[in-house]
Amino acid sequence: MAEKILDVKNLVVTFDTYQGSVQAVRDVSFHVNKRETVGIVGESGCGKSVTIRTVMGLNPKSNGSVKGGQAFFEGRDVLRLSEKEIRDILGNRMSMIFQDPFTFLNPTMQVGKQITEVYLRHHKVSRKEAEEKALSILRLISLPNPEQNMKRYPHQLSGGMRQRVMIAMALICEPAVLFADEPTTALDVTIQAQIIDLMNSLKEKTDTSIVLITHDMGVVAKMVDRLYVMYAGKIVEQGDADAMFHRPRHPYTWGLLDSVPRLDERTKEELHSIPGMPPDLIAPPEGCPFAARCRYAMKICQRQMPDAIPLEEEGHAAACWLCHPEYVKQYGVTRREGKENGQ
């Protein structure tokens, strides 16, 4: 059994707004094993970013509040740490890369200085040693001409290079977990391919586990070992990448996979789309949040959402009545349409 680095249990997060409180994360549990890449996918507003920001203690205390749950990281519940304790962890044991490197970097500071700043905060070393460390990290992530580029300002670098600088800042303290929130969405496809290759190679070179948050199923397929699918603040399906892509069981996962046209296929007829929109999380529906958009919805779906139901493969589970043993016994296993043979 692999060692769990991060174990989040029953996380509930709400935000108070003038319209009412938004139930952004509703009872989410997930874990990350050592040296593993885990993906969390879902559409905007499904709560995936809020989940990890909460785990990192980055949500503003004024209007966001953790209503319940625990998040164990290296033996401690990070949700209950003081501000000071969290600061010693962030950038050091846990770090994060963001979607847009340009807004993340300080425009008035040389990038080399920004990278060493992180290291100096967490280690008692001289500036010179920190600079050497920064250089070695920049070489590890193959930034061209690291010596010259460290002296540059963010606006003098290209998008791909800025993304590398941000990854260097995140990695310099050799964190146990790296959270990547849409790390390639703002990049061009050829640069995206470079960054994906880089992040995949990090798995071999370091001990860092990666939590990847994205809506791009293609990027997920290239990177992750395990996958969680989130919808309306809940995890609806989870499992190994292979099971999730080839034998998905939740209708929302089917919809997500079907609505991405594949480069290697052409559909002459209409693209598959999920009708309707995600529900409003100020007043989420009582039953399954996907029921209103789901063509398989039954009466019970309107009333109640099941807990994750474990499936044949280890670690694969879906929160859907179609997977309930009673239903399966009576009607058989429901598979993704057009992919009946499990492929």
């Binding site: 559409e43 809506h215 990448a241 292979d242 892509f245 080839h246 996979l257 052409r266």
Partner: protein, 322 residues
């Protein structure tokens, strides 16, 4: 597509659009020739900074090209008289990338949709105006109750529908769609693409579909043009771009896009380009792609390849393509 798109609607002849910047002259569009036929969809793909949006704006007569001609129905759009200019702004419309930024936050949706019709006086009276607004909203899947709401009351997908109905209101013959789906969620993207396809079947306008998303553009385009640093490097029927592409940049671009299937991904051969797109200021001599091209030779660095036809309807700008 059923009918042959034989009639030429818009023709670009060696169009060059330059901008003065502090470091010199930025050659955003550097000699593009392209023909758009009635009722067809051309996908224009490329990475950011390749000039695809500038080309779209040049077609819309928003930027005056430094060289070359844009011909609409055989007439240069910069030699139009006043009436022709007005007619042109009606016949060529645009759908923008960011549905949040392109709607007036202080106008209700009905007025936003009708603004073009107001300018062109396209209805008889107030009643007819209201009726037309309703018809347009229905066409894109919105209804009566939406007409009196403000943009902030809509989701991204709904706003993009408003943008589409505004473009349709003038019964255009060409719509330039500049990244119309990239700001939307995946499940909503498919809805909007299906809507655009359906509207084209019903009304027969042509689309210039500008995007960087090569998997989506395959589903909608009849022909696809691939741009790199201000030039079209390959143009062909959309299936040929995917199945028998010839330009190394097209090949690299296609291989860079991850496919949503881990098994396929593991067994796929990939070309990962090194480096970044060079700056369009002070372009290198020779082929603009030579610096990143895995197959570049002496000739590529010395001499820029011209677009040439290697099969009927399939043009490539590469010395090495056969």
């Amino acid at each position: 597509m059923d009918n042959e798109h034989s009639k030429t609607l818009l023709e670009l002849k060696d169009v060059k659009t330059f901008f003065k910047v502090s470091g010199g002259i930025l050659k955003a569009v550097n000699g593009v020739s392209l023909t758009i036929h009635e009722g067809e969809t051309i996908g224009l793909v490329g990475e950011s900074g390749c000039g695809k949006s500038t080309l779209g704006k040049t077609i819309l007569r928003l930027i005056r090209p430094a060289g070359g001609q844009v011909l609409f129905d055989g007439k240069d759009i910069w030699e139009f008289n006043r009436a022709e200019k007005k007619a042109y702004t009606r016949q060529v419309q645009m759908i923008f990338q960011d549905p949040y930024a392109c709607l007036d936050p202080l106008s209700v949706i009905g007025d936003t949709v009708a603004e073009g019709m107001d300018i062109h006086r396209m209805y008889a009276d107030k009643q007819a105006r209201g009726k037309e607004i309703l018809r347009l909203l229905n066409d894109v899947g919105l209804n009566e109750s939406h007409a009196n709401r403000f943009p902030h009351e809509f989701s991204g997908g709904q706003r993009q529908r408003v943008g589409i109905s505004r473009a349709l209101s003038l019964k255009p013959r060409l719509i330039v769609c500049d990244e119309p789906i990239s700001a939307l969620d995946v499940s909503i993207q498919a809805q909007v693409v299906n809507l655009l396809k359906r509207l084209q079947r019903e009304m027969g306008m042509a689309y210039l579909f500008i995007t960087h998303d090569l998997s989506m553009v395959r589903q909608i385009s009849d022909r696809i043009a691939v741009m790199y640093l201000g030039n079209i490097v390959e143009i062909a029927d959309s299936e040929d771009i995917y199945l028998s592409n010839k330009h190394p940049y097209t090949q690299a671009l296609l291989s860079a896009i991850p496919i949503a299937d881990p098994t396929v991904e593991k067994n796929r051969e990939r070309i990962v380009l090194s480096g970044d797109v060079p700056s369009p200021v002070n372009l290198p001599k020779g082929c603009a792609f030579a610096g990143r091209c895995p197959r570049a030779c002496e000739q590529c660095r010395a001499e820029a390849p011209a677009l040439r036809e290697i099969e009927p309807g399939h043009q490539v700008a590469c010395h090495l393509a056969e």
